[in-house]
Symmetry: C2
């Protein structure tokens, strides 16, 4: 096992069999001590956050595997806060794919002239570049294609996968009377065949969820879901 | 003739026959006294800027009319700095459609991780919302469609028209050894049939043009072109 990369919320190690090990940390993104899934900085440490995030990730990735949706997931050891994943090639320097069911966050900051807070959005998908320096700018299918990051047909596949996966997460939350407002996913290509698959994680830190109109903090969300898993 | 609206660079009057009269002013957009076609504020006044802008607008709109491309143009009186146009309905609260042949300006500010300054772009089209408060955010075809601003088929038509018109402008500049880097257009729907047509103006203030690698100021560009019209 060899250390490869230190991420904001996970460390990455390579394994001898070609797979990778993700070590979930207790760091969460945010600013000034307030959690914000859209933030680029690590704002605070919460004890148990890593394991809670992994528990939820395991839960969702195993559902996705059952449904035949391609992901990088191999296995997870929640007690050790470790997940084993297949190797993946990211798109360019990394993309985030967001699926929105209600207008909040950066969507509202950009399109507030045309949308009111909390307005329903029809599984709206948008892609942003991972670029801290430029505040993760949104980017269109045409621009992704022109810059050689993603072809137009890959974009369509990415969009469809995003809507499928987000719909599955939304349904799981809905069973517990929790409403998914938006979710942020990451994708990559498989090492050999270039097929698109979901990578990274699906935890409270990737989504905004509300119960009876009240926002649920990621760790609280994980407790609410995991208690019933 | 009735005053309707005071724009940044033009005033608008309604005429008895249902058409509108645009009065071109000597104000140009920019910041701190420096011209910037992408700016939202009027930065300075240049004597003759209104007439020069109209002269170029007349030139281009008459070429477009010959080529059968739909615009709001009826006629122009350069000495009076007046242009008569057909009524148009704008999309939402107004869109700007940009066609880019080289990576400069806001494109580079957003996508500088993937593009170098001046890099060739293949008539890349993007749409931004006219929204000073939110710094004219870029918006995707899907978002325009979802927010009821433009349907997906209208977006394709807008994109095709933009590439056609920008190509015509690029060719005209090329005849004078001037290279078009990018151009900003506005479109609207005709009053009765909802057909898409080019509105506003095509002047130095709408584009970035370079000669022998040196940026040409709008008024200088208008002189260079008009001298040979």
């Amino acid at each position: 096992m060899k250390f490869v990369y230190q991420g904001k919320t996970k460390d990455v190690y390579s394994l001898d069999d070609g797979n990778y090990l993700l070590k979930f940390k207790d760091d969460v993104t945010g600013e000034d001590g307030v959690f914000d899934p859209g933030a680029n900085t690590v704002g605070l440490q919460i004890e148990g956050a890593g394991k809670a995030g992994l528990r939820l990730t395991k839960f969702f990735f195993e559902i996705l595997r059952e449904k035949g949706i391609p992901t990088h997931y191999v296995s997870a050891n929640v007690d050790a806060a470790e997940m084993i994943v297949k190797p993946a090639k990211i798109f360019g320097h990394g993309l985030e794919v967001i699926c929105r069911y209600r207008a909040v966050g950066s969507f509202l900051r950009r399109y507030g002239k045309y949308a009111v807070e909390g307005q329903e959005l029809d599984a709206f998908v948008e892609v942003t570049l991972k670029d801290d320096e430029r505040q993760d700018p949104p980017i269109s299918a045409d621009a992704l294609n022109m810059l050689g990051i993603l072809s137009l047909s890959e974009y369509e596949e990415l969009k469809n996968l995003t809507q499928q996966i987000s719909g599955i997460v939304k349904d799981e939350l809905q069973k517990r009377n929790i409403e998914l407002y938006d979710i942020k996913l990451e994708f990559g290509r498989t090492e050999n065949s270039n097929d698109i698959m979901l990578i990274d994680e699906i935890s409270g830190g990737n989504m905004r969820a509300y119960k009876d109109g009240v926002y649920i903090e990621p760790l609280e969300l994980e407790k609410l879901l995991v208690a019933q898993i």
